[in-house]
Amino acid sequence: MEISRLCIPYTPFTGKLEESKVALVSTAGVHLKDQPPFILDGDTSFRIIPGNVESRDLMITHGHYDHSDADKDINCVFPIDRLRELAQEKFIGSVSEIHISMGYTQAFREVREKTIPEIVKQIQDSRADITLMTGG
């Protein structure tokens, strides 16, 4: 049986934030400087960002929002340093070993059928308890 698109899937959170591992999932076009950049007019691929990344090693390739400020401080859209600080402050338990980033795309069918299942698998395998999502 297919779920109606009007139905909203919702998983209650039953853990404790201070014990939870958090992964970032972003569509802001963030990637490592040595990873292939996203194709500006549409790209259904995603990049795996290692949890121990230095934020200065990240950049943005995305042509559909103004990322000039995020170019100066990637945390504006991909707050990896802030998550680490929140883990140090014990607001969250830990920062995931991997995070996920996508760029711009309008190829929704391919994203739905191919990209999203792969992303979900990555997050499941990472055993992250929570995902924090950002757009551009």
Partner: protein, 84 residues
């Protein structure tokens, strides 16, 4: 299907921080937070606004503890966003 929808269907709780409330609302988010008046490209604030970034993330993650109805978007004002 959105990424959030797929994650929630696989029992991974998620919180979406959005700077485009109207667009996000149309997608019927499972759990979403909007810092009011933030520009696209400033999901958690402007460059260097470290304390604000953390505040926004904490407020977003707090929706996991104090949920609102799925499909609705929690909003909050941050006067310090406009100070820089």
């Amino acid at each position: 299907m959105s990424i959030q929808r797929a994650l929630e269907m696989m029992a991974i709780p998620s919180v979406l921080i959005t700077t485009d409330k109207e667009q996000t609302h149309m997608g019927r988010p499972s759990r979403a937070f909007s810092p009011k008046g933030f520009k696209i490209g400033h999901s958690v604030g402007k460059p260097g606004q470290k304390e604000l970034h953390k505040k926004v993330i904490k407020d977003a993650l707090s929706l996991l503890i104090n949920p609102i109805e799925p499909g609705k978007i929690a909003e909050r004002e941050y006067p310090e966003y406009h100070e820089l």
